[in-house]
């Protein structure tokens, strides 16, 4: 046996043994089953559903209980929000595609009713000092947590998934008081909780699968703030 062959075989044996030790890093079966059956159990990924998405029945049941109150509250707030109400100019009996409202305490409430004018919403959020990248997908979409889910111009922040989830919860507590309506989704943002260098990625899309009517959902993630990604 040549020295080279011996060396190779030794490396291969070491490799087999080393790889075997990684088995202990395996996720638990319970966790995997939970994730498979309930996409909401996924880490990092946070989805705000609109009504009509069967996969969110548990959450929707709680949220829908407040739909009537939510509808009234939104209608009043929109009516009185004046120039702060932005988006596509509504027809007389039609709400704006989206609304950005600053409420007492500096909190910002974003209501999305139609997947139109993402650029306008993005500009409005940035004007309200929220470094954001907004994307609307008008076609059906299955959300993913992989980094390819964020825009190419953006980069994921350097933090653990746990830290990411914790920070997202501080910045965008979910579900908020008006998390879901029959045809809208509401995202509450606390700008003061956004650390320097961090931006928000907000993606609204037609919910899938099994969505009927105009149901859509929202996916959020954190990104590194940059001129190209979040405008600053």
């Amino acid at each position: 046996m040549t020295g080279s062959k011996e060396s190779r075989e030794r490396t291969e044996d070491d490799l087999r043994a080393a790889l075997k030790t990684l088995e202990q890093q395996a996720p638990t079966v319970d966790w995997a089953l939970r994730v498979a059956h309930d996409p909401a159990a996924r880490k990092r990924l946070r989805l705000a559903p609109s009504a009509g998405w069967p996969g969110w029945s548990r959450l929707a049941a709680a949220a829908l209980a407040a739909v009537a109150v939510t509808g009234v509250a939104l209608a009043v707030a929109t009516h009185h929000s004046g120039s702060r109400t932005t988006g596509i100019a509504p027809a007389p009996a039609r709400l704006a595609a989206w609304t950005v409202q600053r409420v007492p305490g500096g909190t910002i409430r974003v209501t999305i009713r139609e997947l139109r004018d993402a650029a306008g919403l993005q500009a409005q959020l940035r004007a309200d000092r929220v470094p954001a990248n907004v994307m609307f997908l008008r076609h059906s979409f299955t959300p993913t947590t992989s980094a390819s889910a964020i825009p190419r111009a953006c980069r994921a922040p350097h933090m653990s998934d746990k830290a990411n989830a914790t920070l997202q919860e501080k910045i965008m507590p979910f579900p908020g008081p008006f998390a879901v309506g029959p045809n809208s989704v509401v995202l509450v943002i606390h700008p003061s909780a956004i650390p320097a260098g961090i931006g928000l990625f907000i993606k609204a899309f037609a919910a899938s699968p099994g969505t009927t009517g105009s149901g859509f959902a929202l996916q959020t993630d954190l990104v590194q703030a940059s001129p190209l990604c979040t405008g600053s």
Binding site: E12, D14, P27, S146
Partner: protein, 170 residues
């Protein structure tokens, strides 16, 4: 086969495979969660395959290779100057070498790492690996050869065996 049947019989092995492929639990969870949700949604088709488990492994490999996210990987926990041969048992020495090897493995391009895991952990033939990766057998062989060469070179280069006692600093 029902999804629950596959989960009961095969899921533990699939999860171990994902962990070995990615190198750490956080990365394994990232990959597995994406794949399992898609599997569950498409089970009516995947469940009808001859070997659904093989298809799931293929999905895991593809998700791992295509993922752009760089999560922390295992790296050698000790430098040579911190290791004292005089008090290092055989077991500890082997453990340090293994850590070093895993550290080098984590630096490999993902496709090369996948080839090594499929060959040396799963024990698959180059033909089977080529089918999973969607490439030619020659590509599998050259990837494996390049990866092994890198491991040997790296192990004898930048990360030498534990230093001799006289090289230690106070």
């Amino acid at each position: 086969m029902r999804f629950e049947e596959l989960a009961a019989r095969r899921l533990p092995a699939v999860l171990r495979f994902a962990a070995v492929l990615t190198g750490d639990r956080a990365s394994a969870e990232d990959v597995v969660q994406e794949v399992l949700i898609r599997v569950h949604q498409r089970w009516d088709k995947i469940g009808g395959l001859d070997q659904p488990e093989l298809y799931i492994r293929k999905m895991i490999v593809n998700e791992f290779i295509s993922s752009r996210r760089k999560l922390p990987r295992l790296v050698p926990s000790g430098r040579g100057s911190e290791v004292d041969d005089r008090v290092t048992s055989d077991y500890a020495a082997r453990h340090a070498e293994r850590d070093a090897l895993l550290g080098e493995l984590a630096k490999l391009p993902r496709r090369q790492r996948a080839v090594l895991v499929l060959r040396y952990y799963e024990g698959l033939s180059d033909t089977a690996i080529a089918a999973i990766l969607g490439c030619a057998q020659g590509t599998v062989r050259s990837s494996a050869s390049r990866a092994l060469a890198t491991l040997r070179i790296e192990l004898s280069g930048p990360h030498p065996a534990p230093a001799m006692p006289e090289e230690r600093k106070p």
